[in-house]
Every structure is written in structure tokens, then in C-alpha cells.
């Protein structure tokens, strides 16, 4: 709870900083403050508590995921230092929006009441609409924001309808009541319909097939840093929320719901990966890659013993790899019109370190060992195989193979071609974020217990 308050307060302080003309130290200050909040958050570990009539429930699930979100926000804020060089007067707005976004994300994993859940998801979404459309004069950014907004609102409507039906069935928004209702035998039909609507709304947020269409367009059009936010923070948040809701409502779910999950998971992977093969724009490619990762993450919900630890690990691995990749993309495409793969040519020669970071990030996403992505996939396979879904594992394996195809397109461009552009400057924040992301990726890749043991 303190964490949530502190985050919101930090957002307000950021806005005040602009008034106080302290723009120059805004980013370092926010980073330090976020680190402080991270510490604050860690104090709640192993201290389950609920606040305000169970509006907010702080447990290990929420603490660990919130910690991950804070770390990711720290990265995103740090990357923002250089990203808004052309509109310095708006820096504080963007930083503040990111921090509000974080508060929404934190609310989404620590809600104890569907009202908080709805607020959280809307805070997150509205922040993202703004960020996506934030390049006012750029038609692509506008289009991206508009598409996201229209479709996001549509999904919000569905979520709201779902909440409404659940409320109608049990007369409460409280998660404890919902969990009880889920296991009880006689409950109104609406309850299930509401659950399904809720799930579909969240499937939209994590961009699972067939609700994924917005993702590539929005990712491509949005400013790169926003794309980074969407593909790391927003995606993991939505997935964690989905997990939490699913866990709460999975009391006596019919077998068919598993089938649906298996099919959606397999479809998301396959569609995402195959579509990514022929993309020239890196952001768009990563959007499709994100769709396939959504499919992988859906696998955590499959099986007899679903494991939050696995999801946390997968999300962490995926997000760190994404941060690493986007820090390089931000660097490479700073002064360029688009993020096409050709722009990455020769990076291995001009900036070997960044090329290395991008390579490791991509290898991690592809699931190649010593990087975190490998263990993430391993645990998923292990869990799904135990529950007997060999076919899904095979699909996942085939997809991992396809994925290598497009990840390597980027690596090839970096190492086998000559640079087309002069690349100057060694922006500190980008290098720092890239380094830290790489180290974190390697650390949890070599010692996965560090993360998985947080949630047992």
C-alpha cells in the first residue's frame, strides 16, 4: 500500500519539478526515488496484508511483480532522458505519466476488489494512449494512438461488462467473495459469462491471438520508448493480472477452458512468430514477437499446478531482454525516421557493445541458454509437459525454431553488413541501461533460483 502511495506521490512530485525548473535533475531524481520505492516495496515481502476494506491486498505475488514493474519503470525513465531531447519542456510530463502508469500497474497486481482492478487497468491504458500519440505532429504516432485508444476502449467496455455481470451474479466486487463463488456449486450463469468477458478483455491487453491486431500497428507507430513500455511493462502487467484473476476464478473451471487456453496459446505463438518473419520494421517485428511471447506466457495458466514463479521468471526474462533490445533500438534510431532493420547494419563494427547487448537480448528471447529466456522456456515446457500437453510443447518448440529465423535477421544485419550511417555519441543512460539489463539477464539466466524462489 505504501508503495502505491509513494509511486503516486512521486508522479505528482515530478509534475511539480517542472514548475520548480528542476528539469535537469528530474531523471536522476526519479531513478533514485524509484530505487527508494523499490526498497520500500521490498519491506512488504512476506508481509501479507490488506487495506481499505480489502481494496488493496499486498502479498508476495503483488510485491514481487510490483518490484519488477518498478525496476522496469526505472529503466524506462532512464531511457527517457535522451529520448525527449527535442521536446525538453515535456520531459516531466512524460516521466510523470510513466510513473502514473506504474501506479496503475501496481494496482493491477495488488487489487483486492474489482474496482481497483478496473481503475488500475484504466490508469495504465489511458497513460499508454497518451504516450502512444505523444508525437503530435507525427501521423503515425497519431494513428497508433487512435487505434490503441479505440480498440482499448472497446476492450475496456468488455471488461466493464464482465465486471458488471460478475457483480450481478454475486453482488460484490470483492475478490474473496469471487473466489468463494468460483468454488461453490450453484452460482448464476452470468458469473461465468462475466469471467469470460473479463478474460477476453485481458487477452486483448496482452495481445493474444485473435485479439492481437492492434499490437503491431500500435507498436510500430508509437514512439520507440512507448513501444518499449508497452512491450515490457504493459504486457507483463496485463499477464500478471490475467494470471491473478484466472487463479482466483479457476475454482472449478470446466475442461473446455483449458482447451481454449491451449488453442489460444498455440495460435498466439504461431501467428506471432510467422508474422514476424517478414517484417522490416524492428518495432513491428518485436510486436509480433511479443504476441508469440504472450502465447508462451499463457502456457503458465495451463496445467494442474499453475505456478506464479514461472510467470514471474518468464516475465522478468522477457522484460529484461526487451529493455536491452529497446535501449539499443533507441540508440540506433535516435535521429532516424523509422526503425527498419537496415538501420542496424554494421552496428557490430561501429558499436560492438550495443550490438552485443542486442544480440544477447535476442538470443534470450529466442531461448538460448545461459540467457534468462532459456530457463523461462524450460520451466514452461516442464510445467506443461507435466500436465500432459505434449502437443502444445511441440508447437512451442517449433515456434522457438521459427523465432530464431527473425531474431537472426537482425543479428545478421548487425554483423555482416557495413554501416550506412555515422553513429556518434555514447549516451550515458542508454549504455547504462543496456549494461544493467544485460547483467540482470545473465544473472537470472545463470541463477534462476534468485527469481523463482521469490514465489513458491
Amino acid at each position: 500500500m505504501n508503495t502505491l502511495i509513494a509511486i503516486t506521490a512521486l508522479g505528482v512530485i515530478c509534475l511539480i519539478f517542472e514548475l520548480l525548473n528542476l528539469r535537469k535533475i528530474l531523471v536522476p531524481f526519479s531513478i533514485v526515488a524509484l530505487c527508494g520505492i523499490l526498497y520500500l516495496n521490498s519491506l512488504d515481502y512476506n508481509q501479507t496484508a490488506s487495506y481499505y476494506n480489502n481494496m488493496i491486498v499486498v502479498d508476495n505475488f503483488s510485491v514481487t511483480f510490483t518490484a519488477l514493474f518498478i525496476v522496469l519503470t526505472t529503466f524506462l525513465v532512464a531511457l527517457g532522458h535522451h529520448f525527449y531531447d527535442d521536446v525538453p519542456e515535456k520531459l516531466s510530463d512524460f516521466v510523470a505519466i510513466k510513473i502514473f502508469l506504474l501506479s496503475g500497474a501496481a494496482a493491477m497486481v495488488s487489487f483486492g476488489n474489482l474496482a481497483m482492478f478496473f481503475l488500475g487497468i484504466e490508469v495504465l491504458s489511458i497513460s499508454l494512449y497518451i504516450l502512444a500519440a505523444s508525437r503530435r505532429l507525427n501521423i503515425k504516432s497519431n494513428e497508433s494512438g487512435m487505434k490503441y485508444f479505440l480498440m482499448g476502449s472497446f476492450a475496456s467496455g468488455i471488461i466493464l461488462f464482465g465486471i458488471c455481470l460478475i457483480y450481478g451474479a454475486i453482488g460484490s466486487f470483492d475478490m474473496r467473495v469471487i473466489m468463494e463463488a468460483a468454488v461453490s456449486a450453484d452460482v448464476e450463469e452470468w458469473f461465468y459469462i462475466g469471467g469470460i468477458l473479463l478474460a477476453i478483455g485481458l487477452l486483448f491487453k496482452i495481445a493474444a491471438v485473435p485479439f492481437h491486431f492492434w499490437a503491431p500497428d500500435v507498436y510500430e507507430g508509437a514512439p520507440a520508448l512507448t513501444t518499449a513500455t508497452m512491450s515490457t511493462l504493459a504486457k507483463v502487467t496485463a499477464m500478471a493480472t490475467f494470471f491473478k484473476l484466472f487463479f482466483a476464478m479457476s475454482g472449478n473451471l470446466p475442461e473446455t477452458s483449458q482447451t481454449v487456453l491451449v488453442v489460444l496459446s498455440g495460435l498466439s505463438m504461431t501467428v506471432g512468430n510467422i508474422m514476424a518473419l517478414r517484417q522490416a520494421n524492428v518495432k513491428r517485428m518485436l510486436a509480433f514477437s511479443g504476441i508469440s511471447h504472450a502465447g508462451f506466457m499463457l502456457m503458465t495458466l495451463i496445467g494442474t499446478q499453475i505456478s506464479a514463479g514461472t510467470l514471474l521468471y518468464y516475465g522478468t526474462a522477457y522484460a529484461f531482454a526487451g529493455i536491452g533490445a529497446f535501449s539499443v533500438i533507441l540508440y540506433v534510431c535516435r535521429h532516424l525516421e523509422n526503425e527498419d532493420i537496415v538501420n542496424f547494419q554494421g552496428l557490430g563494427k561501429s558499436n560492438p557493445f550495443l550490438a552485443f547487448v542486442l544480440t544477447t537480448s535476442l538470443l534470450s528471447m529466442a531461448g538460448i541458454p545461459i540467457f534468462a529466456g532459456f530457463f523461462a522456456k524450460l520451466m514452461l515446457f516442464s510445467q506443461v509437459l507435466e500436465s500432459g500437453h505434449l502437443a502444445l510443447v511441440i508447437v512451442a518448440v517449433v515456434n522457438s525454431i521459427i523465432a530464431v529465423g527473425y531474431y537472426f535477421k537482425l543479428i545478421l544485419a548487425m554483423y555482416t553488413k557495413e554501416p550506412q550511417h555515422e553513429r556518434t555519441g555514447r549516451p550515458f543512460y542508454i549504455y547504462a541501461v543496456a549494461t544493467v539489463a544485460l547483467l540482470l539477464n545473465l544473472t537470472i539466466g545463470l541463477f534462476p533460483s534468485l527469481v523463482t524462489d521469490l514465489l513458491r
Binding site: K147, M151, V209, P210, F213, T259, V260, R278
Partner: protein, 628 residues
């Protein structure tokens, strides 16, 4: 057995090889040749020492160290110097020494002189390993080793790709045989659990009858295939005539006297196995006698002096296999030895002739050389008489014994073998008459260079001619030293009738002698009286043409084996590889194509996106409710 002598015997040629390989260039030709020759002479002396110190019943084995380990048997690096090995070693190192000596002069102008000696030394080394190994894998080391040296020496003049082709052909054909040999070895190892000669002999004597005779027959047949390869028998003989591409001393040493007899050696070594499978013995006899006749007929129409000798070698080897097939191992060995003498002499003599003729090998361009090269002429004449089987030269005794044994075994075999002998007499004297009699038919330039060869070359000729003349003494019917010498190994005392000098034997001897004389007479009529000279290749017609073209066997092999394999290789390379490759790419291409189609679906229209959203929504909801 004195280990130091054995090691010296083995290692002297190896040392010679190493010194010549690494230091040959620095040493200069004189020292290089001397070291090469000396190495073999040392081995010869060692062999003599061992030979003289041989006591019946003594242990002849020398274990060096452990080599291969398998579950049910193991192979040691060990050698055995019993009667058979020593006999072979004697003529290998003996003739080897002479040929080395000869080569010093013969190869004097070659720029790779030292290489030649290093290869020759290596050859002798492997030959020693081959004959003195005490088990089949060691024999196989020598077997392949001599094959390698043969390859190196046939292709000694590597600038000429035709020679290289011949070398390659020799090696590959030998390997076909080697595969057979290996399979035979494997079966023996599985059946008997040992590959040691003594162990095998014990096994076959005690448990031979318990073993499934099919396996024994297969093993024996496979081993015989190996022998066919090395000893140039049908159908694997075609490499030997081509092997004449090598320098003449090589032909003398490797392709006449020693290496090609390895097959006979091996069969003799494993006589206890072959004795158990009469069917295979029959096969051996048939192959031997057919080869003898087949090669002899080809020999009739050859004009290259070395090719004639080569086919003669194939034919003689066929006779030896006939002897093996009829179970007369000691007779085969006897013929091996006499053949080594006279054939080495013939080859060296041919070398001498070629040397004098400015490297011309075509007999149509020779003639009348007896006046210029008397020593060469006389030594070759003696050897030719010996090979033709004229009393009392060595060839008479050995060939006669083979015919005798064949007669006792089966009269058709005898008849064919006799025919081959008559043909031999004919083509050998065709060679002699064309080369040494009449007028010189070469160019004026060549004529001015004609000369008798230097002493280093004639001395070996004389020694070999002497041996060819008197070598038969080691096994004169009635009192055969050779038979007694080999008796501990071959246990020939069980078959005394082999050497009974009865009336039949005398008649056969007379028939054979008359036959030989007839052959010589025909040659005389044709080439001396009528002064015929074989025509140009293009003029030859009819059956002679078939003979001159060696029955088109090479062409047959080419179209049955070589071309199809190469065709298959092309097919694999161009079709199968491409197909497999594109199959793998196909997956990638298909995925990319689906991706391209999918991109059309993602057309940027919010309406479509939401439509799919709603469709998906409806599908999920309806599935969840309908499926219940």
C-alpha cells in the same frame, strides 16, 4: 628367437626409409642408394641368421606389445619366424637386395632418386611385416602397407596423370580385395575367437568340425577374394598390367617377385582353414586355372615388353593358385620361389633393355639386341627357358609339379594349365625373338645409344639367372628339401602320393617339355624364320584385336562399375542433395509465404481488427457453452 635380430630385421628397412625420407636430399644419391641397399642387405643377413638358427619345434614367436583389444579376442603386435615366413623373407630380402643394387644404377638420373629408395625400403619393411606377422591383423598391416608402397611406386613419376591413374587403380582394386580379406578376418574372429595363426590352427584342429561349415566357407571365400586382389587373379587382375607404369625395378620386385605372392602366402598360412572347405578349394583351383589361361592368351598379343611380362606374371600366379586349390601348398610355394627368380630376372632384363633403348618399351621398335647386350640377353634367355619349363631349369620342376598335382586332381585342369604353359613358352620366346633377334627397328638416334648396362645392373641379372637355372634343386621330385622344410607347418607327410615318381609323372613331364618346345618352335617359325613383326595397333583385327585389347575387360569394368558410380554420384550431388536442401529451405520458404499472406490480413483497418475481435469473442463464448 633372438629378439634383437628380429628387431634389426624389421627395423633396418624402416630405418632406411626414415633416413632416406628425411635426409635423402642432403645425403646425395650415392649415400642414399647405399643406405637403402644396405638396409635390405642387413635384413637379408638377419633372415639368414634366423634361417640357419631355425630348430624344429622351437618357439618361433616374438611378442612385442599388445595392440587391439576386443571383447572376445585381442591382437598382439607379435611376429613369428617359422619355416614359411623365413622362406618368404629369404627371397623377399634377397631379391630385394639385388633389386636395390640394380636400382642404384637404373634410377641414377631420376631427380627423386632418394624418394625411390625410401619407398622401396618402406615396401620391404611392410613385406617383412606381412610375412612375419603372427596373426591376421598384423598381416593386414603389411598387406595394406605394400599396397600403399605399390601405389606410391606405380605413380612414382607423378607428373604423368596416366601413371597416377594406374597407381590409383591398383590401390582401389586391391582395396576391393582387402574388404574381402577383412570380412574373412571378422568371420574368423567371431567363429574362432582368435586371429593368431597358431590359435586358429589349434581351433580348427580341435573344434573345426563343430563350426557351421557355411561360415567357414564364407570366411575362406572372403579371404580368397583378398588374395585375388593382391595376387591379381580373376576378376581383380586388371590393375597389375597397368602397374607396369612404375619404374622397372618396382615391377620386378613388387609386381612380380614379392607382393603379388602375398595372396599365395596367406592361403598357405591358413591352409588348415582351406583344407576344411573343399568347395572353396575348388573355386580357387578354377579361378587359378582360368586366370592362367586367360592372362596367357592376352600375353600373346601384347607389344609392350613389360605388359607381356605382366600378363605372364598373372598367368603364373594363376598356376600357383591352381596348386593351392588342389591342396598342394608346398608346390605353390615352390613355384612362388622359382617364379620370383626368373620373373625378377626377366623384369630386370627388360629394364636393362628399356634402359638401353632410351626408355622405349615397344618391342616392335627393338630387335637384334643380343649383340649389343650379351649379358642381358643370356640371363634373359635362361630365365625365359626357365619360365617356359625347359629341363632342367627351375621352372621345369615347379611347373611340372603343379601340372602333376592338377592331373591327379582333375584332368581338365591339367589340360588347361598345360595349354597355358604352352602359350607361355610361345609368348616368352616371341618376346625374346622380337627383342634380341633380327635387325634393330628403332630410330637411328636410339640405335646410336644402344649399350650394355653397367655392372651394377648386370650383376643382379647374373645372380638371378643363376638362381633361375638351379633354383629347382630345392625340390627335386623324390628328394624334396622344400617339402621336408615345410613339413612341420603343412603336415604334408599325410599325402605321400603327391611326389610319387611313377610312370604317369614321367609321361607328364615329357608332355610338358614337348609342349614347351612346341611353343618355342612356333615362335621361332613366326618371328625368326618368317621375320614377322606385329603390326600397328590400328591394323590389328579379329581375335587378335580382342586379345590386344585385353578382352575389353577394363572397358567392361568401366561401364559396369566406374561409370554407374560416377553417374550416381552426379545424381546424388545434383538431384538428391538439392532436393534435401530445398526440403529444409522449403519449411522456411513456406513459413515466409504464410507470413506474406498474413501481412495482407493485417491491413491496418480498425474495422477488420474489431470484427475479428468480435468473431473470436463469439467463438470462444460459444465453444465454452456449447461444449458443456
Amino acid at each position: 628367437m633372438d629378439l634383437s635380430i628380429i628387431l634389426l630385421l624389421l627395423l633396418a628397412p624402416l630405418g632406411g626409409f626414415l633416413i632416406n625420407t628425411f635426409l635423402g636430399k642432403q645425403l646425395g644419391k650415392g649415400a642414399s642408394g647405399a643406405i637403402g641397399t644396405l638396409a635390405i642387405v642387413i635384413s637379408f643377413v638377419c633372415t639368414l641368421l634366423l634361417f640357419l638358427g631355425l630348430e624344429p619345434g622351437a618357439d618361433t614367436k616374438a611378442d612385442l606389445f599388445h595392440w587391439l583389444t576386443f571383447q572376445n579376442f585381442s591382437v598382439d603386435f607379435s611376429f613369428q619366424f617359422d619355416q614359411l615366413s623365413l622362406l618368404w623373407l629369404l627371397f623377399v630380402t634377397g631379391i630385394g637386395s639385388l633389386i636395390h643394387l640394380y636400382s642404384i644404377s637404373y634410377m641414377h638420373h631420376d631427380k627423386d632418386f632418394y624418394k625411390f629408395f625410401s619407398y622401396l625400403n618402406l615396401f620391404v619393411f611392410f613385406m617383412i611385416v606381412l610375412v612375419s606377422g603372427s596373426n591376421l591383423p598384423i598381416l593386414f598391416i603389411g598387406w595394406e602397407g605394400v599396397g600403399l608402397c605399390s601405389y606410391l611406386l606405380i605413380g612414382f613419376w607423378y607428373s604423368n596423370q596416366a601413371y597416377n591413374d594406374a597407381a590409383k587403380k591398383a590401390f582401389i582394386m586391391n582395396r576391393v580385395g582387402d574388404l574381402g580379406l577383412l570380412i574373412g578376418i571378422f568371420i574368423l574372429a567371431t567363429v574362432a575367437g582368435t586371429l593368431d595363426y597358431q590359435g586358429l590352427e589349434t581351433f580348427f584342429q580341435t573344434k573345426g568340425s563343430l563350426v557351421d561349415s557355411t561360415w567357414l566357407a564364407v570366411a575362406a571365400l572372403c579371404l580368397f577374394i583378398g588374395a585375388c586382389g593382391k595376387s591379381a587373379q580373376l576378376p581383380l587382375y586388371t590393375w597389375l598390367p597397368d602397374a607396369m607404369a612404375g619404374p622397372t625395378p618396382v615391377s620386378a620386385l613388387i609386381h612380380a617377385a614379392t607382393m603379388v605372392t602375398a595372396g599365395i602366402f596367406m592361403v598357405t598360412r591358413l591352409h588348415f582353414l582351406f583344407d576344411l572347405v573343399p568347395a572353396i578349394q575348388n573355386v580357387i583351383a578354377v579361378v587359378g586355372v582360368s586366370t592362367a589361361l586367360f592372362a596367357a592368351t592376352i600375353g600373346l598379343a601384347q607389344n609392350d615388353i613389360k605388359k607381356v611380362l605382366a600378363y605372364s606374371t598373372v598367368s603364373q600366379l594363376g598356376l600357383m593358385f591352381l596348386a593351392l586349390g588342389v591342396g598342394a601348398y608346398e608346390v605353390a610355394v615352390f613355384h612362388v620361389i622359382t617364379h620370383a627368380f626368373f620373373k625378377a630376372c626377366l623384369f630386370l632384363g627388360a629394364g636393362s633393355v628399356i634402359h638401353a633403348n632410351s626408355d622405349e618399351q615397344d618391342m616392335r621398335k627393338m630387335g637384334g639386341l643380343r649383340k649389343v647386350m650379351p649379358i642381358t640377353f643370356i640371363t634373359m634367355l635362361i630365365s625365359s627357358l626357365a619360365i617356359a619349363g625347359i629341363f632342367p631349369l627351375s621352372g621345369f620342376w615347379s611347373k611340372d609339379e603343379i601340372l602333376l598335382e592338377a592331373f591327379h586332381y582333375s584332368i581338365p585342369f591339367w589340360a588347361v594349365a598345360s595349354l597355358a604353359s604352352i602359350l607361355t613358352a610361345f609368348y616368352m620366346f616371341r618376346l625374346m625373338f622380337l627383342t634380341f633377334f633380327g635387325e634393330f627397328r628403332g630410330t637411328e638416334h636410339a640405335k646410336s645409344h644402344l649399350h650394355e648396362s653397367p655392372a651394377l645392373m648386370t650383376i643382379p641379372l647374373v645372380i638371378l639367372a643363376t638362381l633361375a637355372a638351379v633354383g629347382g634343386l630345392i625340390s627335386i621330385p623324390g628328394s624334396s628339401w622344400l617339402m621336408h622344410f615345410l613339413e612341420p607347418l603343412l603336415h604334408t607327410d599325410g599325402a605321400p602320393e603327391h611326389h610319387a615318381l611313377d610312370q604317369t609323372a614321367y609321361i607328364l613331364m615329357a608332355v610338358a617339355s614337348v609342349g614347351a618346345l612346341v611353343g618355342i618352335f612356333i615362335a621361332y617359325r613366326k618371328y625368326i624364320s618368317n621375320k614377322e613383326v606385329p603390326g600397328e595397333d590400328s591394323e590389328v583385327t579379329g581375335f587378335t584385336k580382342v586379345l590386344a585389347e585385353k578382352y575389353y575387360v577394363d572397358e567392361l569394368y568401366d561401364s559396369v562399375f566406374v561409370k554407374p558410380i560416377n553417374l550416381l554420384a552426379r545424381f546424388f550431388r545434383d538431384v538428391v542433395e538439392t532436393a534435401l536442401g530445398s526440403l529444409v529451405y522449403g519449411f522456411g520458404k513456406a513459413a515466409a509465404e504464410i507470413s506474406n499472406q498474413g501481412r495482407k490480413v493485417h491491413n491496418g483497418s480498425i474495422g477488420l481488427y474489431l470484427f475479428v475481435f468480435v468473431i473470436g469473442f463469439c467463438l470462444i463464448v460459444s465453444y465454452l457453452f456449447l461444449a458443456q
